[in-house]
Symmetry: C2
Subunit: 390 residues, 2 copies
């Protein structure tokens, strides 16, 4: 059956991370490889209460088919939360999706023809590389500097008339880098005269534990920005609830794609989430998560400073779940992985975060789901592995 | 922004049914237009118990990210249920999807190149026409006779080397028609020498209230059959839980497509469903639903016989949720709809169930979510509308 497949699927590799995670599940391995929120802070009791309330108060309705757009009060909640940040998005421009990953898939499905150009950060989010690859995107990468994309790279890329620019401006996965306000303005200036649609994916935006929030790109590039958001990191990943916020003309097409893809998003879960949001203080819950992640991030940064050789560079993210490490140019992170796993510590080599020509001397470390003492122990082990190669 | 869209999305119309349903939600309209299960028989209390049990026993795990393939015990349940019917499918060949609609989308994404041929029944399932249209399928229709597809049509269609044959052999939506065993064997004989993959979509298979079950096409065409299934009609639609069962070589590609589409299906809902299945007798629950639908179907058939003019033809389905009406050749069902809605009764005109050259003198009637007395009343109203046109 080798020959029956669509061209679009033949070139997409199985997820590298999925394969890596299989190696790292052994209980004695300290894993910085995953990208999971810390499960100790899921609001289990409150979700239980919401399940019961929804089923007691409107069980039959909550179990029936529903609209493609999503549960209206939940869309209003998202709209209001944008309004609180000064961003004007009507509930009618918000579609509830199976996580923000689906928002990206539906956008690509709606606008991307085979071989069209798409700008993506270098390194970039692996899930986006996969999803866009299926639609045969031709990637134009722009280097990520410490404060956002290299502007001359963006200028050069925009000359190719790309359909999309996919970016994670806040605490990017994998790098942890946040675009500065000035970089945001500069990118908007470059994109403004073009037809390129910027997709601002912001799964980690609420997870800022240091410094002040930047403005959304929607502020600088209102007409041509599509926003992706997620409840996975602040509520519960298993609910697979995110959204896409798109101008009406795009929204109409994305709805068609959504309906063809799966009719609508799990409605019971939308009802439970909204009940939770109405009866609990989500900001208080977020601040609990932030306090934990801030400490874990500090533990990782401190341990790196203490144990890693001086030649190793790394980012110090102001939020999110990841930091990014640049090894000396003779240490291939794929080879380091094999040594590290023997020392019972795991990470994700940088390789899969590049659509082509990977920087092989990089790696991603996750700090959100390992406690502080374990982080320190794991970084010490990893330092040992690095030193053994040097 | 008119010109930014992908070719694939530009040709796909907004769902006709969605538009119609907007007209039919007025409370005094008797609607046979929807395709909803009867909400009075959703197991609300049992689902509440399962939500609590899952969260009490393994809340943190049930709220975390999970595997792309789906919850292993749920996949084993589906595998075992196939085994009970004599169909051998390993849990490793089963992917849990957001309803069976997503199974179709992922299959099309994985195997269909632009312009490739796809066989579909005439009339055919609207959701499939939409989903396949997005991948630019070139439809080859085969007429549905009362016992399944016209075999000479299938023979002719197979000459075009179609990639896929999408079919709903049990209580088809929209027609209510079930393929006979002999038609199944004949179709399998025609397809066996070809590379065409048959997608057997079976959302209504468990809803047989008259007669004996037929064998799955998987029995007759083992290597080239992919099965789609759904818990929407026997458990709860809002959970959006279905599956795709595909031979390993196809499965590997579908997994890549699924991961790029949305990482994985709502895991909390998978856990709740499995808990429900473990602690309740699903077959007993199905028999409760069947008893109701059988009576409602009888009420509709009897009312049609009593009130409709003799010239009107209609199917008498042995299961499922729909029956199909052929009006005399001078009564256009789109025009009839406008008259009927004034008489406060609604249906779906046959038009959207044809990828091209619609039979304009047909309509779909749903009997699953209206009680017997209301069905009789609604059919009487509809008969009045038909007679007023004749």
């Amino acid at each position: 059956m080798e020959n029956i497949f669509a061209d679009r699927i033949n070139d997409v590799p199985k997820s590298f991370i999925r394969e890596i995670l299989k190696v790292t599940v052994q209980p004695d391995v300290i894993s910085f490889a995953g990208g999971l929120p810390n499960r100790d802070f899921f609001p289990v009791k409150e979700i239980r209460e919401s399940c019961c309330r929804v089923l007691d108060e409107s069980g039959k309705d909550a179990l029936q088919y529903s609209t493609t757009e999503g549960y209206e009060p939940l869309r209003e909640f998202v709209s209001k939360r944008y309004a609180d940040k000064g961003i004007n998005i009507s509930p009618d421009e918000i579609l509830i999706t199976n996580g923000s990953q689906q928002g990206l898939d539906l956008m690509a499905k709606s606008v991307l023809n085979e071989g069209e150009n798409v700008i993506i950060e270098r390194p970039g989010y692996l899930g986006a590389i996969q999803s866009l690859s299926i639609y045969k995107a031709n990637f134009k990468t722009v280097d990520l500097e410490n404060d956002g994309p290299c502007i001359s790279d963006v200028k050069k890329a925009i000359e190719s008339n790309p359909k999309l620019f996919y970016a994670v401006p806040n605490f990017q996965n994998p790098s942890g880098i946040t675009w500065s306000d000035s970089k945001r303005r500069e990118v908007a200036d470059v994109l403004a005269p073009s037809k390129t649609v910027l997709i601002e994916d912001d799964p980690y935006g609420e997870l800022r534990f240091i410094g002040k929030p930047q403005e959304s790109m929607k502020k600088y590039l209102e007409k041509n920005t599509v926003l992706l958001g997620s409840f996975s990191k602040i509520f519960a990943p298993s609910f697979r609830l995110g959204w896409i916020a798109a101008p009406k003309s795009i929204f109409e097409k994305v709805i068609v794609a959504k309906q063809a893809a799966d009719l609508h998003t799990n409605y019971f879960s939308q009802r439970v989430l909204f009940d939770y949001l109405r009866n609990n203080d989500i900001d208080k819950h977020i601040s609990t998560i932030l306090a934990v992640y801030r400490k874990q991030r500090e533990a990782m940064v401190n341990a790196i400073k203490k144990y890693f050789p001086e030649e190793v560079e790394f980012t110090e993210p102001e939020g999110g779940m990841f930091l990014w490490v640049k090894l000396p140019r003779h240490i291939n992170s794929l080879e380091l992985f094999d040594i590290a796993i023997k020392d019972k510590v795991a990470f994700v080599p940088g390789d899969p975060f590049y659509p082509s020509n990977p920087d092989k001397f990089t790696m991603r470390l996750n700090f959100s789901c390992v406690d502080e003492a374990t982080i320190t122990e794991g970084i010490e082990r990893l330092a040992g592995a690095i030193k053994s190669v040097m």
